[in-house]
Every structure is written in C-alpha cells, then in structure tokens.
Symmetry: C2
Subunit: 150 residues, 2 copies
DNA sequence: TTTAATAATTTGACCCTCAAACTATTTTTT
DNA sequence: AAAAAATAGTTTGAGGGTCAAATTATTAAA
C-alpha cells in the first residue's frame, strides 16, 4: 500500500482512539461529573487570569451561546466562577474555582502521562519527525479554518 | 521548547479544531446535508461489499442503537441502502448508494489534501520514519484502549 | 442625545449518545 | 421437536452539545 494511504489510516485511527481514551480517563477519574466537553472548556479557561466569554468561545471555536450553556453547568457544578466586569458591565469574566483548578491539574497529569508514553515508544529521530508532521498538520488546519470561516 | 511541551500543545490544538474544521469542510462542500458524523458512518461502511450493523458499529465504537439512528437518517437522505439479509433474517446489510459513493470520494479528497500538506516537505526517509512512528503509536494505544475497556 | 456596535444570554430546533426494554430470528439444549 | 438461550437490530427515554436568530444590557460613535 502506498505511504499516503497508510499515513491517512494511521492518523484517522490514532485520533479516534486517543479521543476514546481521553474520554474514558476523564469519566472514570476523580471528577465524574465532568464531561470531555467540560474538560475542554476548563482547559480553555486556563490557570491564569479570568477571561471573558468571547475570547474563550473563540479559543474553542464555538458560539458564545454554546459557551454560555457549558459555563452555566460548570458554574452549577462548582468548577467555574463567573463575575460581571466592573470596568465594562457588558463583559462576563470566567475563571477556574479551586475545584476547577484541581480538575485542570488532574487532567494535565493525564496529558503528561500520555505524552510520556508516546515519547517512550519512539526513537529520537521518530520524535523529531512526528513533531514536524504535527506542526504541518496544525498549519493545514489553521489555514483551512481561515478559508472556511463563516 | 522541549519536545514534550510541543507535542502536547500540538495535540491539544489539533483535537480542539479538527472536528470543527472537518465538519465545515464537509458542510461547505457539495453535500450540505451530511454531518461530520454522517461522514464517519459513510467512511466506515466503505466502498466494498455490504456490511452488517454490528460490524460497522464496532468500527465506529458506538452501540448498534446509535448506529440505527444514524443509518435511518442516511437512508432517508439517500446515501445508504439497507436490506435484510436473506441468509440470516436477523441481519441487516448496509452499503453506500451511488450518492453515498460520491460523498465518500468527495471527502477522501479532503483527506488527501491533508496528507499532502503533511508529506509535502518531508523527505522520503522522513516519511518512512513517520509511518513507523504512527504505526507504533497505534499499536500502543490499541492495547491501552483494550486494557481500560468497560 | 440618538444611533451603532458590542457582550452575553435565551430560545427553538437538530444532532449524537447511551442503557435498557423489546421484537424477530437462529442456535443450542434437553 | 419443544423449550431455552443467544444473537441482531430497533425503539424509547433522557442527557449533552451545537447553531442561528431574537433579546437584553451596556458602551461607543455620530
């Protein structure tokens, strides 16, 4: 079989399986009421200063309406704090609560373990090439994203 | 930056945007009534002989109930043919219609462009190394997925 | 001060998913 | 051969996730 078909098949399979594994890791972990989607929102909010809804929505490539719904639930579950900005009262600032920070760190440890597992499996040369390939892939999706933007 | 951080960042970004972009590429194309999920079902059914529900569901890692719903809609939209097996009347055989085959090929061109973007600037040797690396990772994650199976 | 623009939320409609109950059929056991 | 068990799919009910469009509140521009 030619190399392109093989690469394509491997990538497709890899993405699907990593998704499944991540989902399982989240739901069987300490924070059972956090969905995979919730976790991505938590990651996007991040550990630094509070962010507004629009910027987080842009990071996640969803509408602010969609983010509002996700944040409603995360606030109710106690992972996210939400306050109206004093400087500009249209703006809503969201940040991770203590519990949210713990969930973030918990999940980032999962990432670390996964990356470590990947790196362990590969030779130095393979690591370099993989990094290069992923960078290219990222670039491809970025430009495609710009081109197909609504 | 060290390889681990780079890999992690790339993976996080990729997972964040891949689905969104793929969905957009599909919906802005010729086949506007096909969702990303529909397309994955179409891919899983494939261009060869008809498959039964259970085997396609296993490929996609969903329950047969979920697949039934997706196939209902694809049959209604004219992308999939569904017939009961004569040999074993419990079995339902699904296959791509002409329209389904065209959609399959249309989407495979998106994948081709993606792979081309990756491979473009890699030497032949690097391509070999990447293939080997991805194969290794696939094998590794397969066994991990099996181990953590419900 | 009216008019625009901006930030977020709400609403209504779809899509996706699963577990569990159910139907129909085939296979195994007795 | 009749009864029981296994298998293949479908249906149902409930929970998430998504968007576009309408709405509210606030700020910036004319």
């Amino acid at each position: 079989m030619d190399i392109r078909s093989t690469l394509n098949e491997m990538l497709v399979r890899l993405f699907r399986i990593v998704n499944v594994i991540e989902e399982r890791a989240i739901r069987t972990g300490e924070y059972k009421d956090v969905t995979a989607n919730d976790m991505h929102v938590i990651e996007a909010i991040g550990m630094d200063e509070a962010k507004n809804m629009t910027s987080v929505a842009r990071l996640l490539d969803v509408t602010t309406g969609t983010l509002t719904i996700a944040v409603n639930s995360l606030v109710k579950k106690g992972y996210v704090d939400r306050v109206r900005s004093e400087a500009d009262r249209r703006v809503v600032l969201i940040s991770l609560s203590e519990k949210g920070r713990k969930a973030y760190l918990h999940h980032s440890r999962f990432h670390d373990r996964m990356i470590e597992a990947i790196v362990e499996e590969l030779t130095d040369e393979e690591q370099q090439v993989l990094e290069k390939a992923l960078t290219k892939l990222n670039k491809f999706f970025m430009t495609t994203a710009d081109r197909t933007k609504s």
